[in-house]
C-alpha cells in the first residue's frame, strides 16, 4: 500500500479556548504518517524560518492547512507563512516547481451554520467561494486543490455533542490520505469533504 506523508500546518491563535480544532489536532497527531506543525507554537514571534518550512514541504506529499476561519480567511500566521515560504523560484515562477502535484486542502472550523454560507445566507458566499484565494494559491503553485474539510457551527459543536463525530471523520480522511485511497477526481466534484467521505475514499485496493 502506498504511504503518503501528510503535512498538517495547524494555526490556532488561542488554542486554550479551542473546542473543535484542538481535538482535531490531537487526532491528527496520532495518525501515523502525519506531521503536525503548530505554527503559533513554533513561531510565537511570527519569525518563520523559511528554509525549515520549505524543507518540510519538500519532504511531504500532501499539504493541509488546519485552522479556525477568521474573517473569512486563515488566521494571520498562515498568511504570513504563505507570504514567506511560497517564494518565487521555489513555489512558482521559473523553476518554481517544487510543490507540483501535491494535493492541498483546508481543514477548517467556522462559527456560522452551514446555511449561512449560501448566496441567500447572511454570509452570501459559499465556503468554497470564500476560499478562492487559497484555491488559486494551489493552482499557481501547481498543487492539486481539494474542497475543504469544513465544520460549521463550531461554537455549538460541544453542546450538540458533535465533536467526536468530526474527530472520527477527520481521522478517516487523514488515514485515507496517508494510504493514498482518496479518489481525487471524485473529491474535487464535491462542495466540501465533510460528511461525504464515502463518496471519494476508495475501499481496499
Amino acid at each position: 500500500m502506498a504511504t503518503k506523508r501528510v503535512l498538517v500546518l495547524y494555526a490556532h491563535p488561542s488554542q486554550h479556548r479551542s473546542e473543535v480544532n484542538f481535538p482535531l489536532r490531537q487526532a491528527a497527531q496520532e495518525v501515523e504518517g502525519v506531521t503536525l506543525v503548530d505554527l503559533y507554537y513554533e513561531y510565537p514571534n511570527f519569525d518563520i524560518c523559511i528554509d525549515r518550512e520549505q524543507k518540510r514541504l519538500l519532504s511531504h506529499d500532501v499539504v493541509i492547512f488546519q485552522f479556525p476561519l477568521y474573517w473569512y480567511s486563515t488566521p494571520s500566521i498562515l498568511k504570513e507563512w504563505q507570504d514567506l515560504i511560497l517564494e518565487y523560484g521555489f513555489a512558482y515562477g521559473q523553476e518554481g516547481t517544487q510543490l507540483h502535484g501535491k494535493p492541498f486542502l483546508c481543514a477548517l472550523s467556522a462559527g456560522g451554520k452551514a446555511e449561512a454560507y449560501r448566496a441567500d445566507g447572511y454570509n452570501h458566499f459559499t465556503i468554497g467561494e470564500l476560499l478562492q484565494p487559497l484555491e488559486q494559491m494551489a493552482n499557481l503553485t501547481g498543487m492539486v486543490y481539494l474542497p475543504p474539510f469544513a465544520i460549521f457551527g463550531s461554537r455549538t459543536a460541544v453542546e450538540d455533542k458533535r465533536v467526536a463525530g468530526h474527530v472520527e471523520q477527520y481521522r478517516q480522511l487523514l488515514h485515507a490520505l496517508v494510504d493514498d485511497k482518496v479518489d481525487i477526481k471524485a473529491a474535487q466534484a464535491l462542495p466540501i469533504l465533510t460528511d461525504n467521505l464515502r463518496n471519494f475514499i476508495k475501499d481496499g485496493a
Binding site: N45, D47, I50, D51, D83, L84, E87, Y88, G89, Y92, G93, Q94, H100, G101, N139, L140, G142, V144
Partner: protein, 647 residues
C-alpha cells in the same frame, strides 16, 4: 563523662546502621529508629536504665517538631481549617475515648480508670505520622491534611487532659484541686511559677504567658532577627533560633502548659515572617536527631519480660486498639466525605496510639488514677501500636494506593492543582522582574534573598519573600526544592551562582534550572554547570536599545524588527560552536585567546552578512523576507493554469 560518650556512641551507631537499612527496605526512618532502639535495649541489653531520662530529653524533639509545624501554618490557614480541626479532631477524640471507655467498663474497670484509658488511646502519634508524611510527600494530600487537623486537635486536647486526669483520682479530690495546677506542668515536675496559686491567678498567668508568646512573636522577633542577621554569622542565627524554642518551652513548662503547644503557637506567629525558612533550616537538623532519639528510646523501652508474660493479651489489645481507632476514623472519613485513597490514608495513618499516651500514662500513675500493672501493660500496647504504624503505611503504599491509581487513571485534573512552585534565588533588580511576571500569571513563587532590607521591601508590596542564603542546601530544602518545578538562579555572586546550578542539577535532576548570566563567559560557565535555560542579563535590553537607535536613525520600525531577528538568529546559530571552542580551551584568561577569538570574529562577519540585504531590483534568494517577484514575471504564465504544463 566516659559513660555518656559510650552511651551516646551506642545510640548513634544503632541509628547509623538501622535507619539507612530500614530506608533501603522501604520501611521509613521511624521504623528504623524503633528497631535500632529494640536491638540496643531489650535484645542485647546495651542500654537500659537511662532510657527514661533520655526520653524526657528526646521529647524536646517533639517540641521542635511542633514549632516547625507551626511555622508551616499561617494564622489565616489555621482559621481556614477550624471546621475540620474542631469537627474532625473533636469527634475523633470524643468517639474513640467514649468507645474505649465503654469497653473498659465492660471489663469491670471502675469508670475513672476506664475514662483515663479512653483518653490515652484517643491520641495518635504526631511524631511518627508527620515524619512519615514528610518522607513520603503526603503532607499536601487531602488525607494528609485531614490527618494533620486531627493531630493538631489532639495535641491541643492534651492540655485539658493533663488538667483533668488528676480529678479522676476520686478519694483525694480536694487535695488534688491544688495539685492539679502544680503537676499539670509536666509529669516530671521540678520548677513551677504557678504552684499554689488560686485558680483565677493561674488563669491569668497562663493567659499572660500565651499573650507574651503571641505579642513577642509578632513584634519583637523581627527586630531581633534583623539585628542578628546583620552580624552575618550563621551560628548566631542558629543560636537565636534555638534560644527562641528553648525559651518558650521553658516558659510554658514553668506555667504548667505543654511546651509543644507553646512552641507551636510561636511557630504560627512566625509563619508570616521573612525569616521563616532560615529558622526552619536551622531547627530542622536538631529536630530530626532528637525525634530519632525519641523513637530509639521508645524501642529501647519495650519490656520483653512483660511482653512475653502476657504475650497474647498485649498483642490482642494492640490489634484491638488499632482496629477500633481505624474503624472510628473510617466512619469519620465517610461523614466528612474524604474520598478514595485519601480515606484510607486518613484511616490507617492515625490508627496508633501516640507519644503523648506515654506522657498521660506516667502522669496517671503519679496521680493515682491508674494502678501500676495496668500502666505497664498499656505502655507496651502504646509502644507496639507505634511500632506497627510503619507497617500500616506500607499496607497503604503497596496494597491500597495501587488499586486506586488503577481506578483513577482517567481523571488527572486533581493532580494539576499542585502545579509546583518556582523558587527564585536572589531577588535583586533581575530576579524581581522574573518574579513579577510569574506572580502576575498566577504562578506560586518562593523568593529567597540574603539581604534583609530587600526582602523587607518586597514584603511591603505583598510578595512572599524570605531571608536566607539561597546557596545553602538546607535552606533550599525548607523552601521546598524537592517539590519545586523550577529554580531561577539570579543571585549576584557569579561563582556562587555557578556552584548553585551545579548543586541543583546534581541533587535534583528533575528540577528545571533557569539561570541569569552576567556575560558570555558566565553564560558558558552556567551552561557547563548544567543550567537548562540561560539568559544573559544585558543581551535583550541591549538589543532593544540598539533597535531603538536604528529607529531614531529613521529606519522603518518593521525593518528594524526584522534586522533584530536576523541578528538574534545569527547569534543563536553560532552559540553552540562558540561554546564548544570555549569549552576546549584551557582555564583562565587564555580561554579567550586562540580558537575562540577567531570564531568570535567569524560570528561578527556572519552577522554583518545577515544584515546586508541584496538591494538589487527583483527577487533575491539571499533576502529571506517579503520580496516581490522579478518585474515582468507574470509574462511567463500562459492563460491556462501551470499544472497543465507539467509534462
Amino acid at each position: 563523662m566516659t559513660s555518656y560518650f559510650i552511651q551516646a556512641f551506642i545510640y548513634l551507631v544503632a541509628a547509623v546502621i538501622a535507619v539507612p537499612l530500614a530506608k533501603r527496605f522501604g520501611l521509613g526512618s521511624v521504623l528504623g529508629y524503633l528497631i535500632a532502639g529494640t536491638v540496643i535495649g531489650p535484645v542485647i541489653g546495651l542500654v537500659g536504665e537511662e532510657t527514661t531520662t533520655i526520653q524526657h530529653f528526646a521529647e524536646f524533639g517533639v517540641v521542635m517538631m511542633l514549632f516547625l509545624v507551626g511555622l508551616e501554618l499561617e494564622p489565616r490557614m489555621l482559621w481556614g481549617m477550624r471546621n475540620r480541626l474542631l469537627g474532625l479532631g473533636g469527634l475523633q477524640v470524643g468517639l474513640t475515648a467514649a468507645i474505649v471507655m465503654g469497653i473498659a467498663l465492660g471489663f469491670n474497670q471502675p469508670w475513672s480508670i476506664a475514662l483515663a484509658i479512653g483518653l490515652i488511646f484517643s491520641l495518635s502519634s504526631t511524631a511518627i505520622v508527620l515524619q512519615t508524611f514528610n518522607e513520603k510527600g503526603l503532607t499536601k494530600t487531602e488525607g494528609g491534611q485531614n490527618a494533620f487537623s486531627v493531630l493538631l486537635f489532639q495535641d491541643i486536647a492534651v492540655i485539658p487532659m493533663l488538667a483533668f486526669i488528676p480529678l479522676l483520682a476520686l478519694p483525694e479530690l480536694i487535695a488534688q484541686a491544688q495539685q492539679a495546677v502544680h503537676t499539670a506542668a509536666d509529669h516530671h515536675e521540678e520548677l513551677s511559677l504557678v504552684a499554689g496559686l488560686p485558680g483565677w491567678a493561674y488563669g491569668l498567668v497562663i493567659t499572660a504567658s500565651i499573650a507574651a508568646v503571641v505579642v513577642g512573636g509578632h513584634f519583637l522577633s523581627r527586630p531581633l532577627f534583623k539585628f542578628v542577621a546583620g552580624s552575618g554569622l550563621r551560628e548566631i542565627f542558629t543560636a537565636t533560633a534555638l534560644m527562641l524554642v528553648v525559651g518558650i518551652a521553658a516558659l510554658m513548662s514553668l506555667v504548667g502548659l505543654s511546651p509543644a503547644l507553646g512552641t507551636f503557637i510561636a511557630g504560627v506567629m512566625l509563619a508570616n515572617s521573612e525569616f521563616r525558612h532560615e529558622l526552619e533550616s536551622n531547627i530542622e537538623p536538631f529536630k530530626g536527631l532528637l525525634l530519632g532519639l525519641f523513637f530509639i528510646t521508645v524501642g529501647a523501652g519495650i519490656r520483653f519480660d512483660v511482653l512475653f508474660g502476657e504475650f497474647f493479651t498485649i498483642i490482642g489489645l494492640t490489634l484491638a486498639v488499632i482496629a477500633l481507632k481505624a474503624a472510628v476514623l473510617f466512619v469519620l472519613a465517610l461523614i466528612f466525605r474524604i474520598k478514595g485513597s485519601n480515606r484510607w490514608l486518613f484511616t490507617l495513618s492515625l490508627a496508633q496510639a501516640g507519644e503523648f499516651g506515654f506522657v498521660l500514662l506516667s502522669f496517671s500513675t503519679q496521680n493515682h488514677v491508674l494502678p501500676a500493672e495496668i500502666v505497664q501493660t498499656l505502655s507496651l500496647v502504646v509502644a507496639l501500636s507505634m511500632f506497627l504504624t510503619p507497617g500500616l503505611f506500607i499496607l497503604f503504599d503497596k496494597v491500597i494506593l495501587p488499586r486506586y491509581e488503577r481506578q483513577s487513571n482517567q481523571r488527572e485534573e486533581d493532580v494539576i492543582e499542585e502545579k509546583g512552585t518556582v523558587i527564585i534565588a536572589g531577588i535583586g533588580r533581575f530576579g524581581q522582574i522574573v518574579n513579577r511576571v510569574l506572580v502576575a500569571n498566577g504562578v506560586k513563587t518562593v523568593v529567597l534573598d540574603h539581604q534583609a532590607d530587600q526582602v523587607d521591601n518586597l514584603r511591603r508590596i505583598n510578595t512572599q519573600a524570605y531571608f536566607g542564603d539561597a546557596t545553602r542546601p538546607d535552606l533550599l530544602h525548607t523552601a521546598g526544592v524537592e517539590e519545586a518545578a523550577m529554580v531561577v538562579v539570579a543571585i549576584d555572586n557569579q561563582e556562587a551562582s555557578v556552584e548553585l546550578v551545579k548543586y541543583l542539577k546534581h541533587s535534583f535532576p528533575k528540577v528545571k534550572v533557569l539561570a541569569r548570566a552576567f556575560d558570555r563567559g558566565h553564560g558558558y560557565q552556567l551552561r557547563q554547570a548544567g543550567a537548562d535555560v540561560i539568559e544573559s542579563e544585558t543581551y535583550h535590553s541591549a538589543l532593544e536599545l540598539g533597535a531603538a537607535a536604528m529607529r531614531e536613525f529613521g529606519q522603518h520600525p518593521f525593518l528594524v524588527e526584522q534586522q533584530k531577528n536576523a541578528f538574534k538568529r545569527a547569534e543563536d546559530a553560532q552559540s553552540d560552536e562558540l561554546y564548544a571552542a570555549w569549552n576546549d580551551e584551557s582555564e583562565g584568561s587564555e580561554r579567550y585567546d586562540n580558537n575562540y577569538v577567531k570564531l568570535f570574529m567569524a560570528l561578527e562577519e556572519r552577522i554583518k552578512q545577515a544584515m546586508a540585504f541584496d538591494r538589487s531590483d527583483g527577487h533575491s534568494m539571499a533576502e529571506r523576507s517579503w520580496t516581490p517577484p522579478p518585474k515582468g514575471y507574470a509574462d511567463q504564465f500562459s492563460e491556462d493554469d501551470p499544472s497543465s504544463k507539467e509534462s
